[in-house]
Amino acid sequence: MAPLSSYYAFPEWLNMLTAFLIGTGFGFALEQAGFSSSRKLAGMFYGYDTTVLKVFFTAAIVALIGSQFLNYLGLLNLNQVYVNEYYVTASIAGGVIMGAGFIMGGFCPGTGLSALSIGKVDAMVFVAGGFAGAFIFTETYPLIEGIATAQYKGPVKINESLGLSPGLFTLIMVAAAAIMFWIAELAEKKFARPEITNDL
């Protein structure tokens, strides 16, 4: 039954339209939840506001549980869902660069665009920085191709490389999330910055 696009072979425009509608909904939800404020994202780094962790991790585990059940009931074929390919070196290098960009800019790409759409100047600078990064990456690609494609592991899933069943891995993730949320709440109390959080 699903994924719809592979069963019904969506034309390109419908694929794009679907992406646009989902993206718009996602951006709207981010804005409503207050993620268009860079101080909320920076709060994750300084520990005074861990909403980002809680929201994104909750979304991840809800999707994880939901997709497994849909797969089990035969409503979604998980084998046809795209899984990102894993390049070890590129993931580490990219993770460090992205992480540094997040904390300096106070946005992630999604929240950056969400803040841009409500006219925030800092988000405009952030998105321009993102484009500049993409431009430099593309222009220097021949030089860094070796690093970018090193240590290819295929579209591997974590449970697969650990040799766990998807269900057991889901349970471990949910338990880990519960523990992390508990630690996050403790951090919020310890590093509380009411002068910032009251504004958000």
């Binding site: 585990i61 809800v62 549980i65 497994q68 059940f69 797969n71 089990y72 998980l78 084998n79 899984v83 290819y152 592991k153 295929g154 579209p155 591997v156 899933k157 449970n159 697969e160 040799g163 766990l164 069943s165 998807p166 269900g167 057991l168 889901t170 349970l171 993730m173 949910v174 338990a175 519960a178 949320f181």
Partner: protein, 203 residues
């Protein structure tokens, strides 16, 4: 209980249920698509029916023929030493149970269609480099091995050796396939592929 605690409990219970459900882990291709394509397009991954006939005549224990056709077709025309794993069954399961012995070269064939090539891509993509195909499948086997005829006045030593292998493989094939149905079914059942047999280890 506040809403967050209720929601967390619900998620925990659902994931506990998931952990207990029999969902097997899928495996991903670990070979780069470009490399996989180069590998499977290489002639090193295929055997001709003559090469396969030689393996059979010499009773080579390092090869395993895997017939991907339906059980009915397999029963009708069985190449000696082959096991039957219908294609639809093969791609549904983790090939580890069939291909785990790295010392054995697994040779897929069907009836001259594309399924053995798909099986080859699937198996090699998952890292089973001990997978091969027999070019042309059963129809090519019949055409080359069974219907082979010597024509002409003189025969070279090389042709003679080839002809001899074809004749002996052909005899084995005809002998096996001319068994009465009941006997043949019993014979094939006794050789049926069983994952247990391959478990091995020290027992």
């Amino acid at each position: 209980m506040d809403i967050r605690k209720k929601f967390s409990t619900l998620l925990l219970l659902l994931s506990l249920l998931l952990a207990l459900l029999p969902i097997s882990a899928n495996r991903s291709f670990t070979v780069k698509p470009e490399k996989l394509l180069t590998d499977v397009l290489n002639t090193d991954v295929s055997f001709t029916v003559d090469q396969v006939a030689e393996f059979i005549v010499k009773e080579d224990s390092t090869i395993q023929l895997i017939d991907l056709r339906s059980p009915e077709e397999f029963r009708k025309q069985t190449i000696p030493g082959a096991v039957n794993i219908p294609y639809n069954e093969f791609i549904k399961k983790d090939p580890e149970i069939y291909l785990n012995n790295k010392n054995i070269r697994n040779i897929f064939y069907s009836n001259g269609n594309i399924e053995p090539d798909y099986a080859l891509v699937y198996a090699r993509g998952l890292g089973y480099n001990n997978s091969f195909v027999m070019v042309g499948g059963v129809s090519e086997w019949i055409r080359t091995i069974i219907e082979t005829k010597f024509t002409g006045d003189r025969i070279t030593a090389r042709e003679n050796a080839l002809f001899e292998i074809r004749r002996r493989a052909g005899d084995m094939f005809t002998e096996l396939n001319s068994l009465p149905d009941s006997l043949k079914i019993r014979f094939l059942d006794s050789k049926k592929f069983s994952a247990k047999k391959l478990d091995g280890g020290c027992q």
